[in-house]
């Protein structure tokens, strides 16, 4: 215990993180703003972290190939210790993520928390909402079962109605003329690299909760 403490102190002298974390934790919150309605932002963040951890776990077993995606999920469900549980956490976590993010948005709207000087927080939040929905869609594609296949068909049909460019957008989305291996590969890339990378960038942008202006 003493060793952990001295290692922690050695790091903190150099990183200087401890005091700012302590300050945030001990920051007095005005009585009238201490409300459970503020919990949904943190809740979304917690579920987001859970999705990252369980997602990395699933990536250890999952095979992003049209021919093997489904059977690799059978392996995950039946041959890996608690694989079914990790997969269940990730699947339910995605539903919770969408639900909590929407509740969070309603709360921010009803409380008027999008007003000056927090307009950018709202705008960034809209992008994060789109990314959450994008993660939910690209994630369910990865199962590559009938749901995923016909869901992609719906997505392609919607995209095809864009004037002039519709046909090209469909080909771009599917990675070819039909829903096949290339489609799964690009949705895997979107789900695992592109969207998480983008949301990581966007998350870094908003000011930290705007608490300073509240003082």
């Amino acid at each position: 215990m003493r060793l952990i403490k001295s290692i922690g102190e050695w790091l903190d002298v150099r990183l200087q993180l401890g005091s700012s974390i302590r300050e945030t934790m001990e920051h007095p919150v005005p009585r009238e703003t201490a409300s459970w309605f503020y919990v949904f932002g943190s809740a979304a963040f917690v579920v987001f972290m859970l999705q990252i951890v369980t997602g990395i776990m699933l990536a250890l077993i999952y095979v992003p190939s049209a021919g093997e995606a489904w059977s690799s999920l059978q392996t995950l469900n039946h041959d890996v210790a608690l694989g079914w549980f990790i997969r269940g956490l990730h699947g339910w976590g995605s539903n919770f993520m969408v639900a909590i993010v929407l509740i969070h948005m309603v709360q921010v709207f009803l409380f008027g928390a999008y007003k000056y000087p927090r307009e950018l927080t709202w705008i960034v939040g809209v992008f994060l909402l789109l990314m959450t929905l994008g993660m939910a869609f690209t994630g369910q594609v990865l199962r590559f079962d009938q749901d995923a296949y016909w869901g992609l068909g719906i997505g392609a049909s919607i995209a095809s109605r864009v004037p002039v460019m519709g046909h090209s957008i469909v080909n771009l989305m599917l990675g070819g003329p039909i829903i096949a291996g290339a489609t799964l590969s690009r949705f895997f890339a979107l789900h695992v690299f592109v969207i998480p990378g983008l949301s990581h960038r966007v998350c870094g942008c908003p000011p930290p909760d705007g608490t300073e202006t509240r003082n």
Binding site: M25, E26, L50, V53, T54, M57, L60, V63, S65, E68, S71, S72, T75, D79, V80, A81, L82, G83, F85, I86, L89
Partner: protein
Amino acid sequence: MSSTGGVTRRDLFMKIGIFCNGIVGVILAVPVVRYLLSPVTRERKVGYESWITLGNLEQFPSGETRLATYRNPVVSSSDGDTADVACWVRNVDGKAFQVFAINCAHLGCPVRWFPQSSLFMCPCHGGAYYQDGSRASGPPERGLFEYDYRIEKGKLLIKAGEMPTPGQASNFVREIRSCV
């Protein structure tokens, strides 16, 4: 803010909060760790190490050493060609056999049989073995890994299922007997 006892309400709530979060963290971490350790902890199913046929005895003429391949007994759907494992079969005198793992006992590279010099040689770091698998020269500290074999209905069978590595205490890879 601070009470007479020295413990503030704020401190107490923070400690309770950390405690509750810790419990949730542990509840989530335990299955994650168990999942991660699955390749180590899962019990070895039937067929993990099993008898696999290498083919008819006629494929392995007396006094010669030939390459054979077998399909590993434990496979998953995405293994492809990597589940086809190669090994060297030595027909000693028409009756006794020796079946060597392809992997060098140094760092696991595939050894090759050279009948011209009657040596197994490793392309990576120059490990060399005599025809009976015992170490001839180079970095390996032991001879080639050897599979248990048996003959059944004119076919050669070996007991296999796991890649032999120098550090493992596996019961199917026997230490080679010293050169007679």
